[in-house]
């Protein structure tokens, strides 16, 4: 009986936590642009402090959504471009904007885990999460320019 109570309490904690749920590729929809999330190399997700899940098909969608609505999420994850399907925290990621990266919403944006990427001199330069948000604010990014 006691065990069951423990389990129940544990269940309560799990239910309230802001653990990110894995993205169901091909079925989940982007919370910003409504497109179905299919690409494992560019996806992103966030969880609010109340545990609400936000999923995005592209990192640029997550940035735009958070900037437009002034969200500040405790959990922000982005796909590691080098290992599609694995999500990393925005704090351990470098962001690269380059024409050769064809991200779903035209942001030419991808994330790389910090240690694994060597910065190419020809690339446009890399951004940290905070710098990336500033960059989007300044440029009034592609997806909001209409």
């Amino acid at each position: 009986m006691k065990k069951i109570i423990y389990l129940f309490v544990l269940g309560l904690f799990i239910a309230c936590s802001n653990e990110p749920q894995p993205i169901d590729y091909g079925n989940d929809h982007c919370d910003f642009c409504e497109m179905t999330i299919v690409s494992k190399a560019y996806a992103a997700q966030a969880v609010s402090d109340k545990g609400k899940q936000y999923k995005y098909d592209a990192i640029e969608c997550m940035v735009n959504d958070q900037l437009q609505h002034n969200y500040d999420m405790p959990v922000n994850l982005v796909a590691n471009f080098k290992q599609p399907g694995t999500m990393i925290s925005v704090n351990e990621a470098h962001f690269v904007i380059n024409d050769s990266i064809k991200s779903p919403m035209g942001g030419n944006l991808a994330a790389f885990k910090k240690e694994t990427t060597t910065v190419n001199k020809a690339s446009e330069g890399t951004f940290s999460w905070e710098k990336l948000k500033l960059e989007f604010l300044e440029n009034d990014s592609l997806t909001t320019s209409y």
Partner: protein, 413 residues
């Protein structure tokens, strides 16, 4: 004078002779691989590929104007490695090939046929099977993609590509293709002045046809059936949509047509049948919806935020669970002269126009829009009562959202 004439004649003749060269490729021919034929070919040559299986990938054609003709569907098997054929040239055509087993990747867009930085070309009557991307065009213009049949199994794959994928191109015609089981049937990103005509896009994982940042395009006479959503038009303007059929896009978040941030466009003579939501409009401005049929959809039209100056005129709304769902204010959108199967008014002066206005937004559709779970109450007597009282004195639904000239008879167009 005479000498220059002969010189001209000589030049003309030699050029004819050099153009007429034809290279045959088959297992028993002198030339056994397509790449070898391409390497020895010169501008203007014809490559005739006889039937058989060619296990080749990354065949590359650079700066040669070739006519490649497959006879009896020769098979190019890329053996799951990379792109089958890639081309950068002007004035070429590829027809009658069967391309199978294109490689898959998360970061590279491998395709059956990759056309890059090209002009004046034709890709026609090919069959593509088990491909990642089918036909991929980038930075190209004045091209035609027609009569191809592209099939794959995107649904069961962890990665998937688009059937016809066009990026940064203009003046492209995509006509009479069948695209089944890919991610997006036809995908256009930064594509202007192009036409998508008479294609069939079926069973695709995401969209049948997908516009991103593309302007001044036409799509006409296409059939979109059982895709994740039929067509998505996003961040685009001046898109002409005519005579298409949007069918059987069923699912919790499935649309016949998803409009997002699109301006100055027209929808005419389209048929929307058996979709969960026939049209979802979000941030759309100055769109005319004229003479379309909406039959048996969950929602015919769902209007979300920031929609201005949309005109719905002479459409037939036939037996949809909800004709219109609306969020926010009316915002200068107009409904006029439509036929509504749910209209129960009368026409005393017999001019074909109902004497009482029709209110397409019911209280229930307003409720369901706010609380989707309320849908379980659909068709209950209580809801009918609510809808009736709202009809008499609108409180929740926009009071001025009416069709003041509802037609008594179905509109023939």
């Amino acid at each position: 004078m005479l000498r220059s004439f002969f010189l001209f004649l000589f030049l003309a003749l030699t050029s004819v002779v050099s153009q007429a060269q034809e290279i045959e490729v088959c297992k028993t021919c002198e030339v056994k691989t397509i790449q070898a034929a391409v390497d020895m070919a010169e501008d203007g040559d014809i490559l005739r590929i006889k039937s058989g299986t060619y296990k080749e990938h990354d065949i590359s054609i650079i700066d040669k104007s070739l006519t490649i003709i497959g006879e009896d569907l020769p098979v190019i098997d890329a053996e799951m490695e990379g792109t089958a054929i890639s081309i950068r040239a002007e004035n070429f055509s590829i027809e009658g090939l069967k391309i199978i087993n294109v490689g898959r990747s998360h970061t590279n867009d491998f395709a059956g046929i990759l056309v890059s930085n090209s002009k004046n070309f034709e890709v026609k009557n090919n069959r593509l099977n088990q491909v990642f991307f089918g036909i991929l065009l980038e930075r190209s213009s004045e091209g035609t993609v027609s009569g191809n049949i592209i099939t794959s199994n995107a649904k069961s794959q962890s990665t998937s590509g688009n059937g016809v994928h066009i990026w940064k191109s203009e003046n492209i015609t995509v006509r009479d293709n069948e695209i089944i089981g890919l991610r997006d049937g036809i995908y256009l990103e930064f594509v202007n002045e192009s036409e998508i005509i008479n294609n069939l896009c079926k069973d695709n994982l995401r969209y049948g046809l997908h516009f991103m940042f593309s302007d001044h395009d036409l799509y006409k006479g296409n059939i979109f059936e059982n895709n994740g959503a039929g067509v998505a038009v996003m961040y685009s303007k001046f898109i002409d949509m005519q005579e298409n059929q949007f069918r059987k896009n069923w699912g919790s978040a499935s649309y016949g047509l998803l409009l997002k941030e699109i301006n100055d466009s027209e929808l005419k003579n389209n048929i929307f049948e058996d979709n969960t939501i026939a049209i979802s409009a979000d941030n759309t401005n100055r769109i005319d919806y004229v003479e379309n049929d909406f039959r048996n959809n969950g929602y015919a039209i769902r209007i979300r935020g920031a929609v201005y100056d949309n005109n719905f005129k002479r459409n037939n709304f036939l037996y949809n669970s909800f004709d219109v769902a609306y969020t926010g204010r009316l915002n200068n959108n107009k409904f006029s002269n439509n036929y509504w199967s749910g209209y129960s008014g009368y026409d005393l002066n017999r001019d074909g126009i109902g004497d009482v206005p029709f209110r397409p937004v019911t209280l229930f559709s307003y409720l369901v829009n706010k609380t989707p779970e309320a849908i379980v109450l659909l068709r209950s007597t209580f809801i009918d009562l609510l809808d009736f009282s709202e009809k008499v004195s609108p409180i929740f639904t926009p009071a001025d959202l009416i069709d003041a000239q509802p037609q008594m008879k179905k509109i023939q167009w």
